[in-house]
């Protein structure tokens, strides 16, 4: 975004930052700028009469500058004197810049130096179009497709013998296809059947041996067909082999990279979407390279050779054909996309029918208990009807296409024959065989033409897919290990947070200036509302993210200086979302410590209170669990993940709502086991229920990203703050229950 020159000229002072807004006060679209200098904030907006109208405010008069989010629009609000007001309105497109502006104003008001925010490009610098994905800055139009192409080709290197064979096979196929009309037209009719003696001589046969010649010709024709068939089989085998191999290699690279990437990478993208995209992208790329690229050459070749041959046979007829062929091409290009749109519509209708069926099957109990069967039936009927309509439309369209396309084809054929016969009768050097050959070539022209009309799109799409995959492969992990990490010898488990500030998005800190000292071997409890920043705090200790300001030290060493291995070995987390991997119970418990023997696994499970329910499963510790195995309840999963942490035997144990989804009795069991567990380690426990934190040596209350209360149970109780309130509420709630 560029600030207009006249605005620059009007402001004498140095411009620190400017943000665009796009709404007028009355809610219509209209551009304007908010400009920040060292002392003032200017608002320039478009007005009907003059170019710009202007307001300016002294920074020191502005209080509580804030960006307020509405639905689809936002306001920059402020208090000036006693008057609250909004300065400008803008849509979400301007939101990012405005937040940066707000931060800038705050910095200046605090007397700090203005830190210019990093320029976030949202539009492609070349063509000015928005990046479809602001995180992956790829402009599908302007990216260097050539470079991407060569990089993809690298993947085929391993299979170069197969690839070259494939290309050669394809070329041979098309050459044989070129010969075919010649054999079955000119040679059959004009040479053999017409009794051309010169032809017999040229292939070394005696006079009158036309039967032998015919036999030879038929044999050649059969041989051609057989070779074509063999080539087709070869093609199939090679393709299958290569496609599977290349897709496997690509996915392997992508997943290997994904493993290294920081949590923030996955946060900024939908994980599910990411997976399917990786899968379908890899398919699309190889699809183009195997079914597309080799044929480009072939079709260009076929087209030129065919043209040359045709021109040599009869140039007048060739020109006529050339005039009509584009019509066919046009029909194809114009009508085909419509059928695709129809297919998209059918797909959506199908999905809605499936959803409706799925709703009814999985939600059968709800439907029945509210007696809504008839309503569900009518809902199903309506989506089913839409599906039927979509299907009929497709059938209608397809038939329509076939008729039009086929009709045009027939017209071309007929005109070729008509012209041919005209030349034949007019004695212009045309013979029946030549005519048949010519007609054969005409029909062969259509393939390359149709193909070439699709290639540009196909190529662009596959290069786009490739670029997206490479983007993941090239992504740099945000959390990076130091080159020479400091080893953590004989860890004690002393944790210090020193003025830590952190936020997932710039300008929206989740933790503000948090300082905390957790002594080795102590248990500390963290309390606070959901969204207060508790989980973020512990995520930082295990270095899922890096702090933006301040530092976190374990035994006096900054976590950024530790090796990832040391850190993971010594810090374990039992979190609120426990993930069970595909595998047996034992494998899941020994996840962090695959070398553990069965005794260790059993002891860990026992300590976590998991042993008994595991023993109730048919195959005990060898029972398959995870996505394809036996389903576990929330409490069971949680106990398995606790056992996992116990077996990992870390110096620092983090329990993030570890007992939130278990019943009271189980919680007691886990509490008991935790008492064993916390001995000799530093424990950080987050909980909603205060009863979970009974054994904590020290408690902190987190509110809005800040530590508001800290102390022992007794101290906090006396304080009468949030802790006290919570305690009252929970003891009372329990009293009602019991």
């Amino acid at each position: 975004m560029k600030l207009p020159e006249e605005i620059k000229a009007e402001i004498k002072a140095e411009i620190l930052f400017s943000a665009l807004f796009d709404l007028k006060q009355n809610g219509e679209y209209g551009k304007g700028y908010v400009v920040l200098t060292g002392e003032k904030l200017y608002v320039f907006s478009e007005s009907e009469k003059e170019q710009h109208c202007r307001f300016s405010y002294d920074l020191k008069d502005l209080e509580q500058l804030n960006v307020e989010n509405g639905i689809g629009c936002n306001m920059l609000t402020v208090r000036i004197g006693n008057r609250m007001q909004y300065l400008v309105r803008f849509t979400n497109a301007c939101l990012g810049k405005m937040l940066q502006l707000k931060k800038g104003v705050e910095q200046l008001q605090k007397g700090e130096a203005f830190e210019p925010p990093k320029e976030e490009e949202v539009c492609c610098p070349k063509c000015g179009k928005r990046y479809p994905d602001p995180v992956q800055k790829i402009c599908p139009k302007c990216m260097d497709k050539g470079a991407v192409f060569w990089r993809v080709l690298e993947y085929f290197k391993t299979y170069r013998v197969q690839f070259i064979t494939l290309v050669l096979g394809v070329i041979l196929t098309s050459l044989l296809n070129l010969v075919w009309p010649y054999l079955n037209g000119e040679i059959l009719y004009d040479k053999v059947l017409a009794g051309d003696e010169g032809f017999l001589q040229s292939i070394g046969l005696g006079q009158g041996e036309f039967i032998t010649a015919l036999l030879l010709l038929v044999l050649t024709m059969v041989a051609t067909k057989v070779v074509l068939l063999l080539l087709q089989i070869l093609h199939g085998v090679l393709t299958a082999h290569m496609v599977i191999g290349v897709i496997r290699d690509m996915k392997k690279d992508v997943f290997a990279k994904m493993g290294q990437l920081s949590i923030s990478f996955f946060r900024s993208r939908q994980t599910g979407g990411l997976m399917t995209r990786v899968m379908s992208d890899a398919d699309r790329i190889t699809g183009f390279f195997v079914d597309g690229a080799p044929y480009v050459l072939v079709h260009v070749l076929t087209f030129t050779v065919t043209m040359v041959v045709m021109l040599r046979i009869n140039w007048k007829m060739t020109l006529t054909t050339l005039l009509i062929l584009p019509v066919l091409l046009g029909i194809n290009r114009y009508l085909r996309p419509k059928i695709w749109i129809m297919h998209g519509r059918r797909h959506r209708a199908e999905r809605s029918v499936n959803n409706s069926v799925n709703d009814n099957l999985t939600g059968a109990r709800v439907v029945k208990s509210f007696g809504q069967e008839s309503q569900e039936i009518s809902r199903f009927k309506s989506s089913n009807r839409k599906l039927r309509d979509a299907e009929t439309h497709i059938a209608y369209r397809q038939n329509y296409f076939q008729i039009v396309y086929g009709g045009a084809q027939s017209i071309i054929d007929m005109s070729v024959w008509f012209l041919g016969v005209y030349f034949l009768l007019g004695d212009a050097g045309m013979e029946l065989g030549t005519l048949i050959t010519f007609a054969g070539y005409v029909s062969q022209l259509q393939g390359p033409l149709n193909f070439m009309s699709h290639v540009p799109n196909w190529w662009a799409e596959s290069m786009n897919s490739a670029q997206r995959l490479f983007e993941i492969m090239d992504a740099i992990p945000q959390v990076q290990e130091k080159e020479k990490p400091i080893p953590l010898k004989e860890p004690k488990g002393d944790v210090v947070l020193d003025k830590v500030t952190f936020g997932y998005e710039i300008g929206r800190p989740v933790l503000k200036d948090v300082s905390l000292h957790i002594e080795a071997g102590k248990m500390i409890g963290i309390i606070g509302r959901s969204g207060a920043g508790k989980t973020t705090l512990v995520n930082l200790i295990s270095r899922m993210y890096d702090v933006q300001e301040g530092s976190i030290r374990i035994d006096g060493i900054d976590v950024k200086d530790l090796s990832a291995g040391d850190l993971r070995k010594n810090v374990s987390m039992v979190s609120q979302d426990t993930y069970i991997f595909m595998g047996t119970v034992a494998e899941n418990i020994a996840y962090a410590n695959p070398g553990a023997d069965h005794g260790d696994v059993m002891r860990a499970a026992k300590l976590a209170g998991a042993h008994d329910f595991i023993m109730k499963m048919p195959d005990g510790y060898d029972t398959f669990i995870g996505s394809s195995g036996r389903a576990l309840s929330g409490g069971e999963r949680q106990r398995i993940s606790i056992a996992r942490a116990i077996l990992a035997n870390p110096k620092i144990l983090i329990l993030d709502e570890a007992t939130a989804s278990v019943d009271t009795e189980t919680e007691r069991i886990i509490q008991k086991s935790l008492q064993y567990l916390v001995k000799g380690r530093t424990t950080i426990s987050i909980a909603h229920r205060l009863s979970t934190l009974r054994d904590a040596d020290y408690l902190v209350v987190v509110e809005n990203g800040e530590i508001t209360e800290a102390g022992t149970h007794e101290e906090l109780e006396k304080l009468g703050g949030i802790y006290y309130k919570l305690m009252q509420l929970q003891t009372k709630a329990l009293a009602v229950k019991e």
Partner: protein, 179 residues
Amino acid sequence: MEEFQLEQMEQETEAMLRIRYLKDGDAVFEKVGNGFLSLCLGEEYYPRVNVVRMFPFSDSQKFISIRNAEEKQEEIGIIEDLDTMSPKKKEMLLEQLSLRYFTPVILKVRNIKDEYGYSYWDVVTDRGECKFTVKMGGKSISHLSEERVLIMDIDENRFEIPDVSKMTPAERKKLDLFL
């Protein structure tokens, strides 16, 4: 002190469960500053309130929730129907709503270009001309009813087409890909 605390909490909980309808006579709204509204309700005074729709799509003029703009944003009361309010109050409330909700209505579709999984729209709305980018597939286009369509661009700006069947055939053709 303990008893008092508990009582207060009990009250808060009860206030959360209570439904309070605001009548024209009781509620005194007043403009404060530019774009803000205060509410005086008997002895209660709220320096700034938010006006929020309960059914923004299906019933935009009824069931309006008046909420405290302070941190907890608790509900102060509900206006069942904006028409029961005096014209002046209604105007104030509508202004608040227009500041909070921004969904331009697409009047004319000039061009939609779809390319590489994203579509680039060029439209005329009731708020002026606009160009925006929509991600294809997924949840960008939602059907509020058979004919009413809500479009969400990549910045989560919203656009509405109240009745697709009233668009011209040429426009419908451009929209075909999405319906």
